[in-house]
């Protein structure tokens, strides 16, 4: 059958199960958009290409399938860059299609020409420059395969306009993709398992560090069986939250910079760390020289390049986490670690008392932690939470207690402000029925606020909670702790968010007191369209505990005891 390259793209998408793309048209993708006219795949027309990339990312994380973003050449493509880098660091399967100028003028500084494969080379898992219609189908199939297999990641195809316009004979090829240099060896060696088993059985103070890999490989059940059989406590990374129930007694909660103080102490005191699908990011290790010095380490990851990268391990196992855990669990006897669990209980010490939740309700003040806690209560802890980056993200991680996996979408590795709203839209497309709460700060929200129009135009329902403290709060907090409260560049004079939301034809609510929170949250839940709540929270509140960057993991700044909380 004779088809144009552009038509082939939609045929291949349909075959690969793509139901929605997030796109922004332009000169170099005109053939592609024209061919879409007769195609049932949904186009979510974004307001900025960064939004398209984040939406594809949010869609991917909420659906487990690849998300697709489309942009034109030059500025359209470079606008995707932040979103691609975000997907790269969080191993999210995003496929980006960018238009490119005609192959005959590549390299001539043609109008809207940018070397996009060059620009995105270090921030994609792989990328392609496609100059012939014949290459479109095989390269697209490879792209989806690479994006979604092994350690997932973003793949970009830069397709020239003439490749989109070229007409060729097309037949769907369903032979498996063959990539000679992409066949990771994921066979687990028996001797590695044996050594892991021995370390686990001999450990007195073992601790599991569970990360994003647990969720991505769907190994939550295997992790649970391993934990219940071995009675080894577990602490989670930010992206690992939800992979093991927060309410389980062996779950210590989040580790790292803003993790639970006792979880960090437990890491430092452990004699065995079992790192499952996590990569010892500097935000969870603190100072590497003093990190868990007494602990032997077992690291299971699907990416061989992660083993021994930041932390030298005793046993490194490359393979699928679920399968590996099942094998290990079967071969282990039941274990007990009562003394160790008691020690950890002692580490908890005054944690509960220092919790902001135990600050008495004060009519004059609205604390972000209370807002998150109220949302958690009113959604029965079962909403899909999408956050932006900053203090609100950490409070969401600390106070929206997750008992189920895949309930938190957040930019962990890159820490991309502006991620929240578009990622929430992507998640909405992937999960039309879920209750979604997008939790953002006043700073990050304004970076991609234009996507409110997308919500309106596409009729998406989101609940957006702005934790508005009038500062770039996380940076302000660092200035408070480490730069003598010299607040340079962090105070922000915000627009009237309620009016902005209303101007988009959506509902805006302002909340200034604790006793207004319930009503506003319920109103948002009841409303059919998107509702944005502007929570005017305490300006100079900080996220505690905090391990200063590069400091020892147990050198934490703790929340001052509640009665000493500073007055304004």
């Amino acid at each position: 059958m004779k088809l144009s390259g552009a038509e082939i793209i939609w045929r291949v998408f349909t075959k690969l199960g793509v139901d929605t793309i997030f796109g922004y048209p332009g000169g170099a993708v005109l053939p592609l958009f024209d061919a879409m006219y007769d195609c049932p795949i949904r186009n979510v027309r974004v307001r900025h290409e960064q939004g398209a990339a984040h939406m594809a990312d949010g869609y991917a994380r909420a659906s487990g399938k690849a998300g697709v973003a489309i942009a034109t050449s030059g500025p359209g493509a470079t606008n995707l860059v932040t979103g691609i880098a975000t997907a790269m660091l969080d191993s999210s399967p995003v496929v980006c299609i960018t238009g490119q100028v005609n192959s005959s003028v590549i390299g001539s500084d043609a109008f809207q020409e940018t070397d996009v494969t060059g620009v995105t080379l270090p921030i994609t898992k792989h990328n392609y420059l496609v100059t012939r219609a014949e290459d479109i189908s095989p390269m697209l199939r490879e792209a989806f395969y690479i994006a979604t297999s092994g350690r997932p990641g973003p793949v970009l195809l830069d397709i020239t306009k003439d490749a989109q316009q070229g007409v060729i004979d097309y037949d769907w090829d369903d032979t498996p993709v063959r990539l000679p240099g992409y066949r990771p060896d994921l066979r687990v060696l028996p001797e590695e398992l044996e050594r892991a088993k021995e370390l686990i059985q001999n450990a007195k103070r073992p601790l599991i560090l569970a990360g994003h890999g647990v969720t991505m490989s769907g190994a939550g059940q295997e992790l649970r069986e391993f934990i219940e059989k071995t009675q080894i406590p577990v602490t989670l990374t930010l992206l690992g939250l939800g992979c093991f129930p927060a309410s389980h007694p062996l779950n210590l909660g989040m580790m790292g910079m803003h993790g639970e103080a006792y979880a960090n102490s437990a890491i430092q005191q452990a004699d065995l760390l079992l790192a499952f699908g996590m990569r010892f990011d500097d935000r969870v290790t603190g100072n590497l020289k003093t990190y868990a010095q007494n602990a032997r380490k077992i690291h299971i990851d699907i990416d061989p390049a992660e083993i021994n990268k930041n932390v030298k391990v005793d046993v490194g196992i490359v393979g699928d986490l679920g399968e590996t855990l099942r094998t290990i669990t079967e071969s282990l006897p039941r274990l007990k670690h009562d003394d160790w669990l008691e020690t950890i209980a002692e580490f908890k010490n005054d944690t509960v008392m220092r919790d902001i939740q135990n600050v008495p309700v004060d009519d004059e003040r609205l604390y972000a932690a209370h807002v998150i806690n109220d949302i958690w209560r009113l959604t029965e802890g079962d909403a899909l939470i999408v956050t932006d980056v900053g203090q609100h993200q950490m409070w969401a991680a600390q106070y929206y207690k997750l008992d189920k996996p895949n309930r938190l979408i957040t930019s962990g590795g890159l820490g991309t402000m502006g991620f929240g709203l578009p990622a929430g839209i992507g998640a909405r497309v992937a999960q039309p029925e879920s209750e979604i709460w997008v939790i953002v700060g006043d700073g990050g929200f304004q970076m991609t606020q234009a996507e409110l129009s997308t919500c309106r135009q596409e009729g998406f329902k989101l609940n957006v909670a702005i934790l508005n403290n009038g500062y770039l709060g996380m940076v302000r907090q660092w200035q408070e702790f480490f730069y003598e409260r010299r607040y340079m560049g962090t105070p922000i004079e915000n627009p009237d968010f309620v009016k902005i939301v209303e101007a988009h034809g959506l509902t805006g609510i302002r909340v200034e007191k604790r006793d207004e929170v319930d009503k506003a949250v319920r109103a948002a839940q009841a409303e059919e369209g998107t509702v944005v709540i502007d929570f005017c929270v305490e300006g100079e509140d900080s996220v505690y505990p905090m391990v200063p960057a590069g400091a020892d993991l147990d050198a934490m700044i703790r929340r001052p005891e509640p009665q000493k909380t500073r007055k304004k």
């Binding site: 080379l121 270090p122 240099g181 066979r187 061989p304 390049a305 021994n308 930041n310």
Partner: protein, 192 residues
């Protein structure tokens, strides 16, 4: 700094290391490999690329200064590139390493005999003779080439070009380019 100190000084002292990488012969692959070194701030001392006996497969010889930890990182990162088929650090096996240089030396009829004599000692060949210059071709280790350059210096080196190091392991075996799996495992450190 990474935790790469095993109390073994050899593991943490950068030494010169040679890697052979088999890659798919496709546009942009050289850039991917070079970019990998660039974005991790590894300095490439020498890089030679050429076709192999297998259609569609190129072979790169890459020389960098690296400690054991960095060398293993480089290997693992190279394997992450979709177009990389096989990586081998040749230091681990006995091997032959060669560099080729063309050196244009100023030499009038008077000096010519002297230069020819030197070339003979170094087993270099004269491949072009002009009125007042010679082109000398020499193959060998970098040391040998630098030795020759040193003694030719007084005659005046007009121009010089080198291929960069190429390497091959000894014996009848070659790294398989088409293995069942691409093994990218970073070996364990020795010692605790």
């Amino acid at each position: 700094m990474m935790m790469n100190n095993n109390g073994n000084p050899a593991a943490t002292t950068p030494i010169e290391r040679t890697f052979i990488a088999y890659v798919e012969d496709k546009p942009g692959v050289l850039n991917r490999v070079a970019s990998l070194f660039r974005c991790r701030a590894f300095n490439i001392k020498s890089l030679a690329v050429g076709r192999t006996e297998i259609l569609g497969v190129s072979r790169m010889t890459i020389v960098i200064d690296a400690d054991t930890y960095t060398a293993k990182r480089v290997e693992a990162l190279l394997y992450k590139l979709v177009n990389v088929l096989r990586v081998q650090e040749v230091a681990e096996t006995p091997s032959v390493m060669r560099d080729l240089a063309l050196i244009k030396v100023g030499a009038d009829s008077e000096a010519r005999a002297q230069v020819l004599q030197i070339c003979d000692v170094f087993r270099a060949r004269v491949v072009d003779v002009a009125q007042d210059a010679l082109i000398v071709e020499i193959t060998g280790t970098e040391d040998k080439i630098e030795g020759l350059m040193e003694v030719l210096e007084p005659f005046g080196i007009i121009e010089m070009v080198r291929t960069g190091r190429v390497a091959m392991t000894r014996g009848s075996h070659a790294p398989t380019v088409d293995p069942e799996f691409v093994s990218a495992r970073v070996p364990e450190y020795s010692g605790k």
